[in-house]
Amino acid sequence: MNVVLRGVRGSLPSPRPATARYGGNTSCVEVRAEPGCVTVLDAGTGIRAIDGKASELHRVDVLLTHLHMDHILGLGFFRALYQPGLEVHLWGPPSATQSLHARLTRYLSPPLFPVRLRDLPCRLELHDAPRGRFELPGLSVTADLVCHPGPTLGYRLEGEHGGVLAYISDHEPALGTGAVDGPAGWTSGYALARGADVLIHDAQFTDDEYPSHVGWGHSSVGHAIAFAELAGVGRLVPFHHDPDHEDQALDAIYATAGRGRSIAVAPAREGDELSIGPA
């Protein structure tokens, strides 16, 4: 499967010269596993960079981890939604009380947004993502709830021809313990990430910043690395960078973060491309 990081920033779009190398768009990852289909992980502002022309596509799946604004802010600007007849599926976390449609239309309706979901010209279907395994073109997907305020999913994508990508964009596995040191069975997100070739994982805070942000739903860089090691992944891609962490700060953080660890650590940069599984 081919993966492009379209938005790697957490919380708030933060485009400015000082964030130009890592990027300022919020969470969005493009996955292509089958010709004519695209799977999109989250709909942050990075989604605008995905070409959604109907002439090239016949199906689009958008997998939302949760409905915090930084993960849906780009949805109304996703070109695929405006392609007449294009099959678009939106998947999101289940709620105990409201449908995904009801929750999304709080944002995608006036006065917050001029276009209503029902007025979109694509063939739109909304789904509560099942907690477990389901199939998309070229991919077997597993969704599960992870530790973050409000219902929040992580996803595990297994390519039909091999390769595993785990995507846990907003995640605080250290909540309550202050560390990610197992046991694995009591660690949020472990089953999603276990043995993945690539793990894209929340690393919003530095280890020094984390103690004053406990309960905010995010990981420190150290926790992300410890989680990746516990899960035995091949490569960690720290993601959801704090909007205040400019390029120089991220360079400094990751100059030493992965040193001496058992896994490869390469922080997410907007526009990075990854090939996972057989070429």
């Binding site: 709620s95 709830l145 909540l175 660690t187 997100g189 089953a191």
Partner: protein, 131 residues
């Protein structure tokens, strides 16, 4: 290795912080966790306990009713909450594994996740004065 649902992971963490005794089982009735305040009532450390099935934790503490009659495991509030998927409450006596008899009030609630997923049940203990 499997992983517990995040709801149970978070509940375990909350229970770990509270001074209220709590006892957590999965949907099949298997003991998953009890916190330190519960350890004091049960007379046994959780870390020294295996993941007991209902039949074991329902008898190992020798629960008896107010007349001293043994209570079958299925009559315990936690077992009733689990089976009936509705809250259950009861007062009864146990003998902790430290040999001390205790009078408990127990309130148990079933745990349901999004979409009605049956996750297990949680019991909250309260020590009552000996009679």
């Amino acid at each position: 290795m499997g992983q517990q649902p995040v709801e149970l992971i978070l509940l375990k963490q909350v229970a770990g912080y509270l001074a209220t005794p709590m006892f957590l089982v999965d949907a099949g009735g298997k003991l998953l966790y009890y916190n330190e305040p519960a350890e004091e009532l049960l007379g046994h450390r959780y870390e020294e306990t295996s993941q007991m099935p209902l039949e074991e934790w329902g008898t190992i503490f020798s629960p008896t009713d107010s007349l001293g009659r043994p209570m079958p495991p299925e009559d315990l509030p936690l077992a009733r909450a689990l089976a009936g998927r509705e809250p259950s409450q009861g007062n009864f006596f146990i003998r902790g594994l430290d040999g001390v008899a205790r009078h408990l009030s127990v309130t148990a609630v079933p745990l349901e996740g999004p979409g009605g997923t049956h996750l297990g049940a949680l019991a909250i203990f309260w020590a009552l004065p000996r009679r």
